[in-house]
């Protein structure tokens, strides 16, 4: 072994404690969850001792459970789409502007990250209520003549989650767009590209890493988020995370709760891998 290799190994040793803590903190709960999901339900609060796939079979064959999974994905998809559409123009502006207000705008963008989820959602409830500001404004503008149900439903969860995760999308896209040489856009325009062609043929393809990164972050956080669906969904919205909590805390079916958690995690991992592959192929 060369001296440098030896040195690298010794430095590597320094990382060991951190790796150990990470393994304990993240690995153990996942391992115990996975283990729980592989045994039978033996009455409230008890996991049986028969190794079985029955929990997975139950999940996969019951339309009700599958429906929850579909709803969770629908939520993720809707939130990612809205974040992309709302976030892209802002990110483009932030990436390209020389305005002295850039710093202020950047702060406003990341401000939602500075507030805890509970406070943020408590703030939304009065705003979105039947007599809240948003409904008042919509009526004042003549966009509706009756209050719209904006909270305690799917829409409320979408609004709250989008607000919380938009900063991630914007930050991700800003970083990537900043790295696109502005002269590349000028070259496109010089060669006859209209603003739209420049966007679709040049800027958008070159933004792909940011879009994929933003999608990954926003989608995975959305499908695993608990606080916002619980607070803004009322009791009418059930997503995987709230369903898992319900199974474990109220139904006391640890085995099935664990099963749902593992399914959610597996799907999230699969999506991450797919997206990473995609972005590697792109670059």
């Amino acid at each position: 072994m060369g001296r440098f290799a030896a040195l690298r190994v010794r430095w590597g040793l320094l990382a060991l404690p951190v790796i150990a803590v990470l393994l304990l903190a993240f690995g153990m709960p996942i391992a115990s969850m996975t283990a729980n999901s592989l045994f039978n339900h033996a009455g409230p609060g008890r996991v049986g001792s028969n190794l079985t796939l029955v929990n997975y079979i139950n999940f996969a064959t019951d339309p009700y459970y599958l429906g929850i999974l579909v709803d969770t994905f629908a939520l993720g998809f809707v939130v990612v789409s809205i974040c992309t559409v709302l976030g892209y123009p802002v990110a483009y502006f932030l990436a390209r502007t020389h305005s002295r207000w850039r710093g202020v705008l950047m702060f406003l963008v990341i401000a939602p990250l500075l507030v805890s989820a509970v406070i943020r959602n408590l703030g939304w409830i009065p705003l979105l209520g039947t007599n809240g500001f948003v409904n008042w404004a919509l009526q004042a503008l003549g966009l509706t003549d009756r209050p719209i149900a904006l909270v305690n439903n799917f829409l409320g969860v979408v609004i709250g989650t989008t607000h919380a995760l938009l900063p991630f999308m914007i930050l991700m896209l800003t970083t990537v767009i900043q790295r696109i040489n502005p002269q590349i856009e000028e070259a496109a325009v010089n060669l006859g590209a209209t603003p739209w062609k420049n966007f679709t043929q040049v800027v958008l393809p070159l933004s792909m890493p940011g879009l994929i990164g933003g999608y990954l972050i926003v989608f995975t956080i959305t499908i695993s988020s608990y606080t916002t669906p619980a607070m803004l969904g009322g009791h009418r919205v059930t997503v995987m995370s709230t369903f898992v909590a319900q199974q474990i805390r109220f139904v006391l079916n640890y085995a099935f709760g664990a099963t749902c958690a593992v399914v959610l995690m597996a799907v999230a991992i699969a999506l991450t891998v797919m997206a990473t592959r995609q972005s590697e192929r792109g670059s």
Binding site: N181, Q183, I184, E186, A187, A188, V189, N190, L191, G192, A193, T194, P195, K197, N198, Q201, V202, P205, L206, G282
Partner: protein
Amino acid sequence: MSEVRLDGVSRLYDRVVAVDNVSLTVAEGEFLTLLGPSGCGKTTTLRMVAGFITPSGGAIYIKGADVTRVPANRRDTGMVFQSYALFPHLTVQDNVGFGLKMRGIRGSEATARITEALRLVKLEQLAERYPRQLSGGQQQRVALARAVVIRPQVLLMDEPLGSLDLKLRQELQVQIRNVQRELGITTIYVTHDQGEALSLSDRVAVMRDGRISQLDPPDKLYSRPASAFVANFVGRTNLLPVEIVGDGDAGYHVKSSASPDLTFAVGTREGDARRPGERCLLGFRPESTTLAPADGNRLTARVDDIRYFGAVRSVALTTALGNVMEIDLPAGAAAPARGDQVTIGWRPADCFLVPVDD
């Protein structure tokens, strides 16, 4: 008809005047270079022709049509950037084909034109590569092919060789000139490298503080600079303060301002007539100076330093008038030693007069 005409074009940034009332005409097929020190407004001028910057005043015409308010994507110019600015997600041939695609040219015609453009820059073999798989020089050749394949009215280049090393720069200069000649394409080229400007251009516009100082063919610019600024910026120059004594058919007679009994003959009469008594600067180039001349203008000097450059020896001198000067001697000729007193000389035809100002 002129291909490109700038008529009193200006551009202001806040209170900075980046380009100040520039007028020039580029003839069809001409290679015109904007040359000048950093910040003199070359890029701003070029980008106004491309349509990326709107002039604060004046008008720009391409083929007789006023394009001052025409957006960049409808101006029909081909631009080559210093940063190459190739599309990283497209192959070489798709980069070159981009402008054709924007013009709705597809299929066999597009393929033929892409192949032809790549042949011009000698990159046929690399059509399938991506820009990141190419060297800097190759990337810039792709950029050149991409700009000319659309057969633009005017080719615009902003220091295209600025980030390449000397050897490659010289190779590409030749290639740019060949492509430009072969296509007969009207070209505006920006550089702050005077050698590049002189060797490539049909005419050179020397810019200073947003204005054109002088616009002339390279040989005239070099041998008959119109100002001390141009004389110093284009090549090296020795300048002596002088006063006009007489005005004859063969040129002027001048005397040194510092030592009135020293007189020189200037064998040229460019520009406005100069009156006796007028003060100006007498200029001559290091390489048109000889040691111990038989006739012509003479000046005694002490040798301060000698530097060897292969083809020439550059000799730094302090003249009897107290000026510091530089002369080039053929490397094969006998060289003086440091501290020697020498007489230097130059022919009346090899010197010029410029105003004292600036």
